[in-house]
Every structure is written in C-alpha cells, then in structure tokens.
C-alpha cells in the first residue's frame, strides 16, 4: 500500500543542489514493552509486535523539500509524535535513517539541533523564568550574543503580539499566548526547519486561528514547516503536502486536493426533495457519472467523480419520479472520507 506513495528519493543529488529539508529511509521505531509508565512519544493505542515491544513506526520513507509546509496526519498512536521525535533528535530510531538538512539525526544530533526549532505538543516554557528570559536563555544555549538575542527577542515578541507580556512570568500567560511563546522560542535561533507537534490541541478556536495565521506567515517567509495534527481541517488548510499515517505506516502522501480527489466516489451531491426520495434514488442510479446512491427520508445522496455532469441528471431523475427539488448541496471529497476509506476508522 505504501510503495507508490513516496516522493522518489534522490541519492545522487548534484553538489550545488541543497539537500532536502528532511529525508527518512525505512525509519522504524519499536518501543520496549513498558515496565511502568509510558514514555512521552510512545503510542497511545499501540500496535503489538510479534517480537515484543510496541511498533510506533513500521518503515517510514519521507522527503520534505526546502520551504515546504508539510503535514503529518493521523489519529493518536499513529506514529506522528515518534516521527517528529526522531527528526528532532529526541527519539532514537530502532532502525532506518533520517536526515535533516542532509545531516544524520542519529550520528550528528548536536549539529542537527542547530537547524531545527521545535514546538511541542504541550507548551513547556521554563516556568521559573519570565517570557523574555525564556527567549534570552534559549538564545544563549545556541551561543547567540546577548545584544543580538535581545534585539531578536524584541522583534519576535512584537511580531507575535506578546511584547506587552515580556516581563511576565510564563504562568500568567493564557494557553494561546504560551503556545505563541513556544513558536517564538523555537524561532530564536533561526532554524531551517520548524517542527510543530499537534500545536493547536487544547487551544480555543480563536487562538487556533491566530496560530494558523502565524504559521502561514512563517511559511510565506520561507520557513520549512513540519506539523503533525489529527485535525483534517488543519492539514487541509495549511499544508502543501500531507502524509497520512496510521499504526506506524504511511498510507498516502500528496497535496490535500490530490488526496481528496482520491476519496472514494468523489464529490457528494445531496438533494433535498419535497417528499420521500426512495423512488428517485432508483432512477438516479442511471444519471451520468454517479457511482453510488442512497436515500434517507427526503434526502437523496449521490457520489460522483464529475459533479458538474451529474447534477442535471439527478434533478431530472427526481422530477421524473414526481418529486420537486428543494435544495442541492455539494460536498467536495474530504481528507476525512479518504482517511476512513484507508483505515476503516475515524480520526481523533
């Protein structure tokens, strides 16, 4: 199921060409069977392995281009956090390899850390420090001169609208502000790739939209962004390409629009009739392009890969069976419908 889905991996890139932002080859992670508490990053609904241990990643091949906004979509326990953990040097793969900016994440983890910024699933600011100190100490860990760090902190705090909280203790910030602080901190050392692990979980809708805007802005300015999420809408709205993963396997990888086109049956056309739609549904099966029809009360649902051609035929079928069409609704194929068809279960 995975073989044709990955972007081809170039092993002999020209010297002048920069390496891809991220590349993984047969990345596999098996966590030992937990003796006590589960470690962060370990899957919540584990896939048991015959050899013992919990398989978080089966054999992941990915390539993310420079400047790309890339999404990892999957339910809890899919392997998203483990993938990000490996790419950010925080989790050791059991086998396989991964490179960030062409640098091996296992053999040269210290070098890789210069190139990455990480926004964790749960905001983890240094609570003993103020907002500004969080940024300045982070910069100091990266060897950035104090004066440079101060200027950059100021600029980023302004940009992300938390400058008025610079002197505040982190605990005094709202959840949305804390998450913004996490983004700012991750940007302090100007990383090449920004990783965000389900950054909007637990945020109120307003803060979520604000964070989306921030991420769009960063991407527009040239940042490579890798984000995991279990929200379809988020992946659809933000990402240029989305990898759908479940139980440690890559199921699909493409642009959201392309993925949606692969959703079974294509667009859903729903007609609301003036009375029961059973007879109309029988006639509708013959309408051009229609692959599947069902009825529920006055509603007639038809799936078609060519919505434009099918609409007229459906209306005609309804009228021929003596019904009047009150309303027409077109639902384009969604990542949700694709995900269900790939995994047989819902997200989240």
């Amino acid at each position: 199921m995975t073989e044709t889905l990955t972007t081809p991996v170039t092993t002999t890139a020209a010297a002048s060409e920069p390496p891809p932002a991220i590349r993984t080859r047969k990345l596999r992670k098996v966590y030992p069977v937990p003796a006590g508490a589960r470690r962060p990053g370990a899957p919540a609904s584990p896939a048991p392995s015959p050899a013992g241990g919990i398989v978080a990643l089966e054999a992941l091949d990915l390539e993310v281009g420079d400047g790309e906004f890339f999404g990892l979509l999957g339910p809890n326990g899919a392997g998203k956090t483990t993938t990000i953990g490996i790419l950010t040097t925080r989790v050791r793969p059991t086998s396989g390899q991964a490179w960030v900016a062409g640098i091996d994440v296992v053999g040269q983890d210290v070098v890789v850390r210069h190139h990455i910024g990480v926004v964790p699933q749960r905001a983890n600011p240094d609570r003993a420090l103020t907002v500004r100190e969080n940024l300045l100490f982070h910069a100091a860990y990266f060897g950035i001169a104090r004066s440079v760090a101060e200027a950059r902190a100021e600029e980023l705090l302004q940009t992300f609208d938390i400058a008025d909280r610079a002197g505040a203790k982190v605990d005094q910030l709202s959840g949305g502000q804390q998450q913004r602080l996490m983004v700012v901190r991750a940007l302090m050392h100007d990383p090449r790739v920004l990783f965000l692990d389900e950054p909007t979980v637990g945020l109120d809708p307003q803060s979520r939209l604000a964070l989306w805007d921030i991420l769009r802005g960063l991407h527009a300015k040239g940042h490579t962004i890798v984000m995991s999420t279990h929200y379809m809408e988020e992946a659809d709205q933000l990402c240029q390409r989305v990898a759908i993963i479940d139980r440690g396997l890559l199921l699909a990888l493409d642009a959201p629009a392309q993925l949606k086109a692969r959703a079974p049956g294509g667009t859903l056309i729903e007609l609301t009739l003036d009375a029961d739609a059973t007879a109309a549904a029988e006639a509708a099966g013959a309408a051009p392009g229609v692959t599947k029809v069902e009825s529920a009360g006055p509603r007639l649902r038809a799936w078609t890969p060519r919505a434009g051609e099918s609409v007229a035929g459906l209306i005609r079928a309804a009228e021929q069976s003596g019904r009047e069409v009150r309303d027409i609704h077109l639902a384009p194929p969604s990542l949700e419908t694709l995900f269900i068809s790939l995994t047989g279960r819902k997200l989240g």
Binding site: R90, R127, F137, Y141, F142, G143, I144, R152, L187
Partner: protein
C-alpha cells in the same frame, strides 16, 4: 526574519553552552534562595539548637559534643542541599512539565546537560554549608577543637562531598517517580541522615561494632568524617586518604549510574 543568512553560530563550544545552562540554574536558584535554605538547613539548624545549645546547657550532653556535631551538621547541609537541588527539578521535569526539553534541544551532547545539573548542585550545596557554618557556630558557642589547618583540604572535601550527593541526586531524580517523593524521604534520606555519622563520630562507634561496619555503605558517613578531618583535625576521625578515595569513588559511581538513567529518561 526568514533569515536565510543565519545569524546564530553553527558551532558553539560546549563550555559556552555549559556556562549558559549554569547561568540559568543559578539565576533560578538565586530567586528561590530563601526556599532552598529553609528546605535544606532548617532541620540541621534546629538540631543544633536542641543538641548543640540546649542539651549541653542542661547538662545532658558532655562538653565537647559540639565539636563532634558541627562538622556533621555542615555535612548534612552540604549533602542534602546538593542532592535536593538536582533531584527536585528533575522529578518535576521528567515527571510532567518537561521544561528541560528546551535544554535537551540545545546543540550540546546530552551528557553535558546532566553534568551541568550536577555542577549547579555542587554550588548550591557549598552555598548552604557556608550559610550554616556561622549560624551553627553562633548557636553552639565557642568550639575549642575547631581549627582550619589546610584550606585546600577543606575545599577538596567540600567539593567532593557535594559532587557525590549531586550525583546521587541525579540518580534519584531520574530513577524515582514523583509519586514516591515521600517514600524517598522516609526510606532513603531519613536513615541516611541518622546513620551517616553526622551526629556522632565514626570512631566512637567502637562500642557498636556492627554499626561501625554498616555505616560504611552510607555515603554521608564519608562527608561527615571528611568534615571532621578538615575542621576538627585534632579529634578522632577516619583517615583522610580513605575519605577522599571513598568520595571520589562515590562521585564517579553515582555519576555513571545517574548519567545512564538520565539518558534513558531524556532520549526515547
């Protein structure tokens, strides 16, 4: 802001990162100084009031007991301030908040993060001991046997003692779950304090021979006796050479063990 010409250096010397990490820990410790001192020196100071001032005046304690007590009190303050300043933040970090994650993502080898924690623990331990010394001396009154002969020896014993307990703190902080903090105090730390030759010199255990051997497994014994060897050298104490060897071995052993558990906790 996209900064495709990076302004952050792409190589940072480990020593510089170590300095930044230490600066962070000492900044936080400075703000929390009252709490640290109360937490780690209250108990030994109260002990000094009762056993070093009240009981001697009531005639229950022999004259000269204060000379045996003072080094032990310093040892307890030094050891447990070091231990707690490593263990407590570790428990909180790995137990839930994961605040240390930002430091683990610094461009430094992971062992350096653990090493810095131990170093910060040593500094805080020494600070607590320096805080207790004049207070204890003030409460107890003059102590004839007190004589600092060799300042170099004092420094070596103090730093080694603090290092051993910081390293023990690293082990406890990374191997114990936060739910068991209470258990750690009553099962590990309380017996350690009582049977660590802090309140009585090791030589005087001649009358309880089994105990004289048993306390040798207790790291605090060597810190207490070390303090006696350098602060009241005229009174009976364990051989300084044996003390230094033991403290070096304990520091190295617990550092090795602590690093192992730290790496296990910090890298998935």
């Amino acid at each position: 802001m996209s900064g495709r010409t990076p302004f952050a250096p792409r190589h940072v010397p480990a020593l510089r990162i170590f300095g930044a990490l230490l600066h962070r820990d000492l900044t936080v410790a400075r703000r929390d100084i009252v709490s640290l001192l109360v937490r780690t020196t209250m108990q030994p100071l109260l002990f000094v009031v009762v056993f070093g001032a009240m009981l001697p005046r009531m005639g229950f304690m022999q004259r000269g007991y204060t000379a045996a007590l003072l080094p032990g009190i310093l040892a307890i303050s030094l050891a447990f301030s070091s231990l707690q300043s490593v263990t407590m933040p570790m428990l909180v970090d790995f137990g839930g908040t994961r605040e240390i994650e930002d430091r683990l993502l610094a461009p430094a080898p992971t062992w350096l993060i653990a090493f810095e924690k131990v170093a910060a623990g040593v500094i805080q331990g020494v600070f607590a001991a320096l805080f207790v010394l004049p207070l204890a001396r003030l409460i107890m009154g003059p102590i004839d046997a007190l004589s600092v002969g060799h300042i170099g020896a004092v420094i070596v014993v103090t730093v080694l003692g603090a290092a051993a307990f910081s390293a023990i703190g690293l082990v406890l902080g990374t191997a114990i779950s936060p739910q068991n903090i209470g258990l750690m105090f009553s099962v590990i730390l309380a017996p350690m304090i009582m049977f660590g030759c802090a309140y009585y010199p090791w030589r005087s255990l001649d009358r309880v021979p089994a105990m004289k051997v048993a306390v040798l497994v207790n790291p605090l014994t060597y810190v207490s006796e070390g303090m006696r060897a350098v602060l009241t050298p005229g009174l009976p104490h364990m051989s300084l050479l044996a003390i230094l060897a033991a403290l070096t071995a304990l520091s190295a052993g617990f550092w090795w063990l602590g690093l192992k558990t730290f790496l296990k906790k910090s890298i998935g």
